[in-house]
Structures are given as structure tokens and as C-alpha cells.
Amino acid sequence: MSRILAAATAEFRIALRNRWVTIAVLMMALFSLVLAAAGSAPTGDVGVDRLSVTVASLTSLAVYLVPLLALLMSFDAIAGEVERGTLPLVLTYPVSRAELLLGKFTAHLGILALAVIIGYGLAAAAAIATDPRAAAGIPALVRLVWTSLLLGATFIAIGYAISALARRPGAAAGLAILLWLVMIVLYDLGLLAAVVADGGGSFTTDIFPWLLLANPADAFRLFNLAASEATAAAAGIGGAAGTIPAAHSLASIALWPFAALALAITAFHRVTP
């Protein structure tokens, strides 16, 4: 445990020096504030408090931004050490590869938590300041925070796996962007196209829900929208949220980080320094 903490401290310090902490926090804060400003127009009589509306918008934002931030922080973790030549020495220390990786993971997840809490916090503060009923949306906000961290944890670990498999930072960066594009953007487009082509057949009813659950980003969106009263504000895939039990999507987002970490540790073990 103390070795994991030692690795985490060093990694956090490096991220701080490399401005990664600042960049992550600024990115989340900027996007959250823009969303809050866009959502501050009078909502009329939707019957929903402003914070719940903000949380719904933040959910759509988080699906894109949280995996991106996570991958940006993690793609260099192993490939960078291989390239700098720092890996052989640390691997001769009495510390396991899993411990080293968990140390990095702790630091990166901590940075993501900082960015998420500050970013969402700013948007929430703006909502609460302008709507006295906003307190009703706080449970949804809390849920969004911890599910965002689970989503981030998944992509941080996937980033490590990519980093270990690619061995070179350049290749790892390319793979990370490709993975983000496929899992976050193209996956949904592909599913939508399949659903349209299927025209309500067995694919739509039997296979489609499982494919949604298999993607951690979709599971994240489903869970937050299904649990939120602001489902009305959601569009696209969110419409499917009604048919999939929240327990299923929760299981997906809760299991993914462990699966991804196991994958990352396995990939790291295959790296010969």
C-alpha cells in the first residue's frame, strides 16, 4: 500500500509540473460554465428545477469529455517510461507491476476527480444561484460525479493497456484517439444505423440493449438519464434508456473499471524493459 502511495505521489507531482492538473481542471470548468450559461435561459414551465436540467446537459458533456481527459492523461503512462528509459530501473525495485500501475491510477483518478468536482461544482453553483428549487437536483449531481469517476477510471485503465501494447508514446496517442472515436462517437452511430435498418426487428429488442450496456460510455449515459427526472431533456440513444433497467447499466459502469484494470495489468506484464 505504501508503495502504491509512493508511486501515486510521484505521478501526481509529475502531472502537476506538466500542467496536466491545470489543463484538466480548466477544461472541465470551461465546458461546464459554457453549459451552465447556455442552460440559464428561462426554461419555462417544464416543471423541472434548473440543477436537474444542468445535470442532464453535463451528462451529455461528460460522455465525451471524461473519457477524452482520461485517455489524454494515461496514454503516456507506460510507453513514456519505455521511451525515457526509466522503466528498467524501477522494475528492479521490490515493487510489483500491478502496484506501480495502481499508483499511477490513483494519481490520475485523483486529478480527474479534482477536475470533475470543480467543473460540475461551478455549473451547479450557477444553477443553484439562479433557481431556489435547485436543491432538488443535488442527488442527480452527486450521482453524476461518482459515475463520471467510474467512467474515467475505465478509460484511464484502457489508456494504460493501450500504452503498454503500443510501447511508443506516438503510437499510443494515435491508438487512444482512435479508441475514443470508435467507442464514443462511431459506436452510437453504428448502433443507430443498425436499429434503423432493422426496423423494429429482433436486433432492436434482443441485441441492441446488450450492445449499449457493453459500451461503458453508453452505460454511463443510460444510467444517469434513466435515474434522472430530466430524461425528457435527453435525445438520441437516451430514448432507449426506458427499456433497460438501471441495475444493468449500473453493473456495467461498476464492472468496467475492474475489467479494464485487469487488462492493463496483463498488458503491462507483457512489456519487456
Binding site: 505504501s2 508511486a7 505521489t9 510521484a10 530501473l89 522494475l91 528492479t92 525495485y93 521490490p94
Partner: protein, 297 residues
């Protein structure tokens, strides 16, 4: 018990044989120099000892345990060739991190850095360090705790002569405390009088494993006599001594150790034609070349 035992260690990378049946030992308190050209297999051998690479065949025992096992790693310290650190950390932060990884108190970092002469740069980022300074950080981390086996891959590259002397003084102190030391080097001159035994690798094969004095004996290289003739008599001197002319006045002779006195007698007999005689025993480089370049037995 030996601190390090290698027996019949073999390792190939594809068709290239990096190590072929290498066997030797390092005892506690012993300093062993591992010599060989680039690509002779020194770094590969060290990585196998450290458990970073796996040997194809052969047996290795590190402090009584398997290489790479927790017990072996706990007692072994390593200084890689061209040691690298994250440029964003300061020397102090880096050493504190390594101390914590070994379960030692981070407060010892300052002492360690002082010991290797880095006291003034502890709060600067390693990115701003010179190669020699990075090498010292590497040495500082190798001194953490109480290692019982030190594996040092070209530890003095990038160090100036004064720092080298300080470095070998530290090693001498450690060896006196019973630490076994295996260090690699390019040159025999570098490790002369600073190590107890010399192991030479050539194309992955062990070609020598002995003390320097014994290697000198075994090599039995000829002694060179340089005879300076008076102007105008160089040709005659070369003729009479059956030696080769080098330039206008110098005549080169090679002789075996046993013949030295007889040859000197021959030279003295030429009397006034001779201005000076220089006796050159085989240099360390000659001995090293003899072993590292001789054809495979």
C-alpha cells in the same frame, strides 16, 4: 555462500546468441569487473541477473534466490547504463520516491545525495542536470538501504576523473562491508586496481575470469624494447638487433619476458651507437585486446 552464481547461462535474441554458457560467481565483498566490447553481452547478462530478462537456459542464483524474486530484488541495487529519470522531478523528489519504494524513510534522501556530491542541486529538476549529475542520482538510488549485491552497468560513464575516484572510493567502502559488486566497463585501464577480479565476455562467451595479475601472466604478451639510436646509426642498429625501424632513430624490438635481460645485453654491447633504451611492458589495453579479440577457442 556466493552472492551471485551464474552457471551455463545462455540467451539468444532470435538468431543472435547474446550469451553462450556463461558461468562465474561473485562472492560477498568481492568487486568483479565485467568487460567486453559493445554487444558482447554485458547488459544482457545484467538484465538476466536482475530478472528483467529471462535466460533461455542455465541456472542463476541471486542472494540465494531466483533472479527477479522479491528476495533478490530487495537485496539488489541496480544502476542502468545511461540511467534516466523523469525530467520533471527534482533530484530530491526522485530519491525520496525510490526510498519509499524500498520501504526506507524519505528523510534519508538528503544524506544520500550529499554522499554522491549532489547537495547543491537537490531542489533542481533532473531535466536541468548534466549527464554526470544524472549518473550521481543513479548512484545515490543504488546506495539506498543496505543492498547486498550491486549491479552497475558502466557506472562511471559521464563522470569526470575526480568524481570517478570518489565513486570507486564509495565502492571500496561498500565492498569492505561485504557488499558484492558486479560492474561493467569498456576499458581495463578504468577498473585496474579498483576491482578484485575481471570477467571478459566476447560475443556472449566468457573468455577470461581471473585477477589482473593472473590475466597478465596468462596472456604472456611480449615486452617491447624501444631503442633510440644515435643519428646516422639507426640502420646498423636495426640490422644488428634484427629489429624493425620505426622512424629516423627508433628501433622497435619485441621479446618474451624470459629473454629480456639477454636482449638488453645485446643492446648494451652496441655501446656508442645507442642513445637510450625504453622498456614497455604490455599495457592493460594490450592484455584486454588479447582476450577480447582472440579467435574463438
Amino acid at each position: 555462500m556466493q552472492s551471485l552464481t551464474l552457471s551455463q547461462v545462455t540467451k539468444a535474441f532470435g538468431a543472435v546468441k547474446a550469451l553462450a554458457e556463461v558461468s562465474f560467481t561473485v562472492a560477498p565483498g568481492e568487486r568483479v569487473a565485467l568487460l567486453g566490447h559493445n554487444g558482447a553481452g554485458k547488459s544482457t547478462l545484467m538484465k538476466i541477473v536482475l530478472g528483467l530478462l529471462e535466460a533461455d537456459s542455465g541456472a542463476i542464483t541471486v542472494l540465494g534466490a531466483a533472479p527477479g524474486s522479491n528476495r533478490a530484488r530487495t537485496g539488489t541495487a541496480y544502476l542502468p547504463e545511461n540511467v534516466a529519470f523523469h525530467p520533471s522531478l527534482t533530484g530530491l523528489e526522485q530519491i525520496r520516491y525510490y526510498l519509499r519504494l524500498r520501504g526506507e524513510s524519505p528523510a534519508e534522501a538528503i544524506d544520500l545525495l550529499e554522499r554522491v556530491g549532489l547537495k547543491d542541486a537537490t531542489k533542481r529538476r533532473i531535466g536541468t542536470y548534466s549527464k554526470g549529475m544524472r549518473q550521481r542520482v543513479g548512484l545515490a538510488q543504488a546506495l539506498i538501504g543496505t543492498p547486498r549485491l550491486l549491479v552497475l552497468d558502466e557506472p562511471t560513464s559521464g563522470l569526470d576523473p575526480v568524481s570517478r575516484r570518489g565513486f570507486y572510493a564509495i565502492l571500496e567502502g561498500l565492498a569492505a562491508e561485504g557488499v558484492a559488486i558486479l560492474l561493467s566497463s569498456h576499458a581495463l585501464t578504468e577498473v585496474e586496481a579498483k576491482t578484485d577480479r575481471i570477467v571478459i565476455l566476447r560475443d556472449g562467451r566468457l573468455v577470461a575470469d581471473d585477477t589482473l595479475a593472473a590475466l597478465r601472466r596468462k596472456a604472456a604478451l611480449p615486452i617491447r624494447l624501444q631503442v633510440a639510436a644515435r643519428p646516422g646509426s639507426a640502420d646498423e642498429v636495426a640490422n644488428k638487433l634484427a629489429g624493425g625501424r620505426r622512424n629516423g632513430v627508433v628501433v622497435d624490438l619485441l621479446c618474451r619476458h624470459d629473454d629480456k635481460l639477454a636482449r638488453l645485453g645485446d643492446i648494451a654491447a652496441l655501446g656508442p651507437m645507442i642513445e637510450d633504451v625504453e622498456i614497455l611492458p604490455p599495457s592493460l589495453e594490450d592484455i584486454y585486446s588479447h582476450f577480447s579479440q582472440r579467435p574463438m577457442p
